[in-house]
Amino acid sequence: MSTIVSLPDQTTATLPKRSYLNDGYGLKSWLLTGDHKRIAILYLISITFFFFIGAFFAGMVRLELLTPPNDLMAADTYNKMFTMHGIVMVFLFLVPSVPATIGNFVLPIMVGAKDLAFPKINLLSWYLYVAGGVMTLAALILGGVDTGWTFTTPLSTHYLNTHVITAGLAVFVAGFSSIFTGLNFIVTVHRMRAPGMTWFRLPLFVWSHYAASVLMVLGTPVLAITLVLVVLERLIGIGVFDPAKGGDPLLFQHLFWFYSHPAVYIMILPGMGVISEVISTFSRKRVFGYTAVAFSSVAIAVFAFFVWAHHMFIMGISNYSALVFSLLTMLVAVPSAIKIFNWAFTLYKGSITFETPMLYAFGFMGLFTIGGLTGVFLGSMGMDIHLTETYFIVAHFHFVMVGGMLMAFLSGIHFWWPKMTGRMYPEGLSKLAALVTFIGFNLTFFPQFILGYLGMPRRYAAYPPEFQVLNVLSTAGATVLGVGYLLPMLYLTWSLKYGKIAGPNPWQATGLEWQIQSPPLTTNFEETPLVDYEAYDYEWLANKTKHEVQTVG
């Protein structure tokens, strides 16, 4: 048995002759692939496409809100803009963002497997995603939807003449792509771990993906049946949500949020996994309280299913159930706080370096904390009744989803980019992009907290003139943010050809994915790895003298 933590010299690194990228050429070798790494790349390209579509709608919303009167577009066009922004960003970007790209790429390698448990289902999941995406585009080209991303009944079933059915079915189909991803991850973590890879040796990235997968598998089918009922109600007029026939629109809210609150954690948990990896690697320390962080992911997944009614405090649910759901909502903040504190303790006395992924991770920690804490404000009923349906809500979930999740996604993309492509991103430019993103983000969304507190409602195309200064700031920030997102796309594309060769382990990290060549072979490992060490064992690595760690160049 030989030790193979590889700490190769990066300056002499060369691209490997064989890798998953040159194992077969042509469109067909990609479109019919079973390789999780190629499917991850397919996903990466498609979600980037939809990200920029969603970003375009966000831009239109911000542009309309530059001036107080409703002048740039008709009010119902504005409704379509924010609806399409929400649908595209939530279902076609945030839900698959980290799991389907980074998770797909590194999760099987992290557990020491050659592939996910069901490669064909993995490919099917991508095709379902594309089908859902095409249907969304169809709804968009045919004239758009204006229900809000929440498909609220009876608005969506009775009062609109837009393409609710197409959009609803698009989300239904995209939902199954998410179910299959989650199913694949769960089975892979249970059945495909390499010898010696016990549950408590798994990287925290795997734990958080496992927890998110449980939510995908249990939550998404409920959204699916809810959308089926909405479509049936619109199409043939069955009466499950129709008050005229005895149905109750509140039931729709219960079913929708039964998925859509856990969906928040489907979106954020994989991002938290990225942050654990990045913080540990760049502070050269094992994640503080590994077990606590691992179980906090599971706790989040469990709590996530018992807080949905906090979206319904003003919808006439009973005071008692509001009280219980308010309490449970505050409880779900505990596992999130456990993570934040443990990451902070990981940094404490660590040998911190400030590579780009780490900058994004710092951004995540700050912005997610603000987003999370404002969530606790909103979870308390008195505050919620004042602030709900205002820009405070908009700012809150953008702090979590954009400030948190998008930062984590970019952090992860930079962190694993060398592994995916074999090349480094340009460090200086990417640091600039991280900074621009952070500044742009705060400029965009911080004013919205104040706007919401002052009472500016969401989802209106016009607003009183006294709110203009803050809205101009927000729109200016969105422009900066747009630059911050365009930059990585440009320089990462550039780096595909001109980036420095990364070598297998540019970060000198201990994870299994860093012990194989970059980009990896189609089969990931030449031999099945035998794991007999804990995750993130940087203390041990630091104490090794050079000859004890075999250097594989």
């Binding site: 048995m1 030989s2 193979i4 050659k114 026939k245 219960h254 007999d532 041990w540």
Partner: protein, 246 residues
């Protein structure tokens, strides 16, 4: 040798398992492959439970709210056809189980026979369901498309003890029939998918694909079929048998 290092087994016991043509490249051995796909199937059935769970939740709430309407609606279903279909599905579960057994024993022709029997029973179920739907259409019990609450405001000669419903409660039978169609419709859709898969299975079984020791597909399909049956076992009493003792 350092016990904490990441290490590989140089002599990975490759020879331990003969390379079966059915072994996919990313599994270590057939046992792992089989366990994995069975586990995946159970997990998929869990998502199905959540899918139907949304409908059962709706049923539970509305049945509590509009109990008289649910009773009246339920009395309009044909208990004979429902019971017959229940029997058909239970039989089909038996034939499916026998099919799995035949595949285990590597009996090719009996496997095809049992699968064909299952296919036949599945089609019988769908045929009876179609008759029932047709009957609902003729009685104007299809919410949205063809509905009239009139029948529920008058005394039903078949259930003389059922009092006629007041007009507002009679309207609520639409919720009952909405759920009836949504639940049995989703179930029927699962049956249609099952029957389509069975056709593929029969063809491949005839070619001998499942009788050479690799029968995970048949087993997993069996799990799916039994699951769809079980859903019906719940649907039958919930929809057909509300307050039938009167």
């Amino acid at each position: 040798m350092d016990s904490q290092a990441i290490a590989t087994h140089p002599e990975q016991e490759q020879a331990e398992h003969e390379h079966s043509p059915y072994l996919r490249h990313h599994f270590a051995n057939l046992e792992q492959q089989k366990e994995t796909s069975t586990f995946g199937m159970w997990l998929f059935l869990l998502t199905e439970i959540m899918f139907f769970g949304g409908l059962f939740t709706a049923y539970l709430i509305y049945r509590n709210w509009y109990y008289p309407a649910f009773v009246a609606g339920s009395h309009q279903l044909s208990i004979g056809l429902g019971a017959f279909n229940t029997a058909v599905l239970i039989c089909s579960s038996f034939t499916m189980a026998m099919g799995v057994h035949a595949a285990e024993m590597r009996w090719r022709k009996p496997l095809v026979g049992w699968l064909l029997a299952t296919l036949f029973l599945g089609c019988v179920f769908l045929g009876v369901k179609a008759i029932e739907y047709h009957e609902k259409w003729e009685k104007h019990h299809v919410p949205g498309l063809n509905f009239s609450a009139e029948g529920f405001t008058k005394l039903d000669p078949h259930y003389p003890e059922d009092k006629p419903l007041p007009l507002d409660m009679a309207e609520k039978t639409q919720v009952y029939f909405s759920l009836y169609f949504a639940m049995t419709g989703m179930h029927a859709l699962h049956m249609v998918i099952g029957v389509s898969l069975l056709i593929i299975l029969v063809v491949r079984a005839w070619g001998g694909a499942y009788t050479q020791g690799h029968m995970t597909t048949v087993e997993n399909f069996g799990l799916y079929w039994h699951f769809v049956d079980i859903v019906w076992i719940f649907l039958f009493p919930l929809l057909y048998l509300i307050s039938r003792h009167q």
